[in-house]
Symmetry: C2
Subunit: 199 residues, 2 copies
DNA sequence: CCATAACGTTTACACTGTAAAATATACGAC
DNA sequence: GTCGTATATTTTACAGTGTAAACGTTATGG
């Protein structure tokens, strides 16, 4: 079976397969477990082949992040459209946020928890902002309806950081102080209502 | 100048010096910049000497974390005693929290942002909880005065995660969406009052 | 058919943490 | 003092990492 020269489609095919495989490995093992060698093994090729299709590990990693942000943004968008009115929309967005972080903790980590923030990459900021934009739109609507007063962008950031703080500490196990695991889990799941969080 | 045999005191001296140097390097360069070799270079010894005084890199790192938690807890304690009444105490604790995170961002990162959470070590949980305990005590007092209602531990966790979310996103530069840097910086510095954060 | 370009692997280098071996130093007994 | 032994430290070495460079192999255009 002679090999075919790679057409432009094949390049994209390999890149896509590599990103998908890397995403799966990240989800299963976490960030530092995915090396160029382990990824190559999973792809069934030599470690250096990846370097013909990606600038370096950072680029591949950036694409994995973009993919994660895309999934996240899609789910935020769906939640946004499920919301009935500003307050319900904010709640739906928050639930979708928590659901994503709980379902894909490693993805959440490389999106929001990794410090320092990895290098920028074309498309990353766009997709990242898209995930945030629905919260911003909901915050604008909420201000318009008099639910909050102030700068919608600032309010959106506050709402975001509020949820991020809970999710982040919960996912990394730092909320466990005593032994009442169920209570602590419910902190996130039965998260404080917006009324309680912001008057 | 012949070398002296190390007495028990000298062991502790070296360990302390190593932890202090590592702490300084972490503060200057961040987590992954401090290697056993670079630390040894800063200490003026061979890389392997450190292994006679520490089990491995993780132990030394754990001690750096404990030290950071100790400084943090001390500052929380001071803020706690500066507070006049429950509400002011909560504000003082929050200000001290933000001040610490801003002054020692790398220390904050290894304390609260690193995922997965590094291995446990004797004394770490104690010092870590001590830093949290003042917020818990203030939350108890606040509940007793009718400022909040509910489980004080849960309320303390909510207040913590609230501040952590803001600090975390701010320090990692993720709050920067538009170009109004001053506004965004003030989100953390002129942080929302407790009244605004929790009704 | 062959030169050339494209593709992939192998090799190699500078890093990392750290185990093992080699070396240097100090100390107690004679 | 001198030697044996214990201790302290360094040197060497190994298995990892990302990746640059060299090498071989395959496909393609003239």
């Amino acid at each position: 079976m002679p090999r075919q020269a790679l057409t432009h489609e094949d390049i994209e095919t390999f890149r896509q397969r590599a990103v998908e495989t890397a995403t799966r490995l990240y989800a299963e093992e976490g960030y530092e477990a995915v090396t160029m060698r382990s990824l190559a093994h999973a792809l069934g090729c030599s470690p250096m082949k990846t370097y013909r299709y990606f600038e370096n590990r950072d680029e591949l990693f950036a694409l994995v992040r973009i993919d994660a942000f895309r999934r996240f943004a899609d789910e935020q968008e769906a939640a946004f459209h499920r919301g009935k009115g500003p307050r319900d929309t904010l709640l739906k967005l928050k639930e979708a946020y928590i659901a994503f972080a709980t379902r894909e903790p490693h993805a959440y980590a490389i999106m929001f928890q990794l410090t320092p923030v990895p290098q920028d990459y074309p498309g990353l900021n766009e997709e990242s902002f898209r995930g945030f934009s629905f919260l911003l739109r909901a915050a604008r609507a909420a201000v318009k309806e008099g639910l909050f007063e102030g700068d919608p962008l600032t309010i959106a950031h506050l709402l975001w950081s509020n949820t991020h703080g809970l999710v982040s500490l919960h996912l990394s196990g730092r909320l466990i102080v005593g032994r009442n695991l169920e209570t602590l889990a419910s902190i996130v799941l039965d998260a404080p209502t917006l009324k309680e969080t912001q008057s």
